[in-house]
Symmetry: C2
Subunit: 345 residues, 2 copies
């Protein structure tokens, strides 16, 4: 047990870290009755259905401290949770954050991390209301988010029906490409255009934006099932199919691959479509919609958010997934997403 | 980045772990609209004030896997969070659990852990509704709990007034003693009576019970401030004093030391009163009450729960803490609780 008596002095105490958290994250906010600093936070939750989710980011598994600024890490930790709320058609309201720190983390790093949490909370109109701090051999950032959705208005993974269109917001593969580019020697990225493309891809990896407004709009537009693309299109589609007891057919030529991947193919060392199908962490929404609901939903997303919604295929009776080739031929579509519990490389 | 493709086979996949979680933790429960397995859980939160809290248990910091059964670890992870809700006078309703596992953890361990979570949830009349799983170099168990309290009925750390009595539920020092006994060679514990005492102390460390009913009763009985004793009486009292802008005087002879500590003093290698003042993890409630509210509160706790409530001193104007010796002399009382951010031993 590494717990130590308080008498031994160090760079900062647990109460000092809590103080930093209160300074950066505290203050009045809508619905917050009592923010960080007491045993628990108090919030006014209204009369909606509550949406609860949690996601943990572990150093060396989900991020490398060398490659990721603490401000981005804080922002991303909120985004990945908010994305789960968005995938239910809900609105995020409150977050609690548990943070485990290694001995070599300095106070400035922690301040930047909380700054990123605050920035993300502002982006999504929510509040970080509390949490916990601890020591650990690696940095761990564990966030839980409470949100809300109109009673009966939530969209689960389970409601897709054969004949529904299958659609995805935004573009896919950018985050996986950004992760690869973080590991590339910057001197290998030649020219202003390539550098600009690389910056955009890296940004989509380190600072993803959850599709909250889009999720609500898709729910209102009649979405029958929805999931966020966190582990890769094929793996998350397989989950949606299993929950809905349906099969899916994906037109590969329609999958919206993030722009710039083809131009950087040499640096990426991967096929752009493969990154789009299996890369994960794009935090786009994969949605099933009745045929007549797709076009109105597409128009709404374009008008309200400037976000594309692309028809990539359909739900079918049965189980499993097939890819439809440009010539109309069909072949089984394998899941190629990330799974933390597959064996180590 | 240790993330690996799903194609590589291993003992279990992330989806299989989620399946185990759904089997053990799923099923209908009051207020649960949708339990584990989707992007987020859906809960009916009613019209109370929400209480949110989070606590993270890290292997090597908060527990040793060799010394702690996974069932106890799961139970304790819920209890330490529920204790924070209890310290506000609230009722726990829902939990989300993020779990990071090392490669050497087998499926049986995970099943036992979820069993402990479920057992604790049943104990407190709440539900575990979701969470996240990941890899990490050490096991990390991060829990967030959403509870509720009547609007205006919460008791914070900040309301204590000079002249209030200072009281504590149950007894203190047992958990710290249990932690020390976990490290003692069992052959050194001689005789049935000593073995029985040691077992009880170890149980209070590995399987603490949060004082939910007691917290609600104390809130109704007029508590002005309340905190759970998680980091040690003196450290948590210092927090209550700081939040309330008050000082405190503690009669050392009145502090309720857990029975059996004196008899095992040789094995513990520590003064029982020191363990009671600074040991931490007892999850008792430290409460400030107006003078005329103490005796009715004491009687209610005894009648309803069989839980003792002991008057250990008083709140005063000013700041800081003093110990009152049996002869009436006063001396400064130092904080001796645990702080994860003090420097390593």
């Amino acid at each position: 047990m590494a717990r130590v008596r308080r008498e031994a002095k160090s760079a900062f105490t647990e109460d000092e870290i809590v103080g930093v958290m209160r300074t950066i994250l505290g203050g009045p906010a809508p619905g917050v009755v009592l923010g960080p600093g007491d045993d628990a936070a108090l919030v006014d939750l209204g009369r909606h259905t509550g949406v609860l989710t949690a996601d943990m980011l572990v150093e060396g598994v989900h991020f490398d401290r060398d490659a990721m600024a603490p401000r981005d890490l804080g922002f991303k930790a909120i985004s990945v949770n908010v994305s789960d709320v968005a995938a239910m058609g809900g609105s995020p309201r409150f977050a609690v954050v548990s943070l485990a720190l290694t001995a070599d983390v300095d106070a400035g790093w922690v301040v930047e991390l909380y700054g990123g949490l605050r920035e993300a909370a502002a982006e999504y109109g929510m509040s970080v209301v509390g949490g916990d701090t601890s020591r650990a051999p690696v940095v761990v950032l564990s966030v839980a988010v409470t949100g809300e959705v109109a009673v009966g208005g939530a969209v689960t993974r389970a409601g897709a029906r054969p004949g529904d269109r299958l659609a995805v917001t935004g573009t896919l593969g950018g985050s996986a490409a950004g992760l690869r580019l973080l590991r590339v020697d910057p001197r290998r990225i030649r020219g202003a255009a390539a550098a600009e493309r690389a910056r955009a891809l890296i940004a989509s990896h380190v600072r993803p934006l959850a599709r909250v407004g889009e999720g609500q709009t898709l729910a209102q537009a009649g979405a029958t099932a929805m999931i966020d693309v966190s582990d890769g299109l094929t793996l998350d589609l397989a989950r949606l199919c299993r929950a809905s007891a349906a099969a899916a057919a994906v037109r590969l030529a329609s999958v919206p691959v993030t722009p710039g991947l083809d131009e950087l193919r040499g640096l990426l060392g991967a096929d752009p479509l493969e990154l789009a199908l299996g890369g994960g962490e794009d935090y786009e929404l994969l949605v099933a919609l009745p045929g007549d609901a797709f076009e109105p939903a597409r128009v709404l997303l374009a008008e309200r958010f400037g976000t594309p919604l692309t028809d990539i295929g359909e739900l079918r009776a049965g189980e499993g997934m097939v890819a439809i080739e440009p010539d109309g031929a069909e072949r089984p579509l394998a899941t190629t997403g990330w799974d933390h519990f597959a064996s180590s490389p």
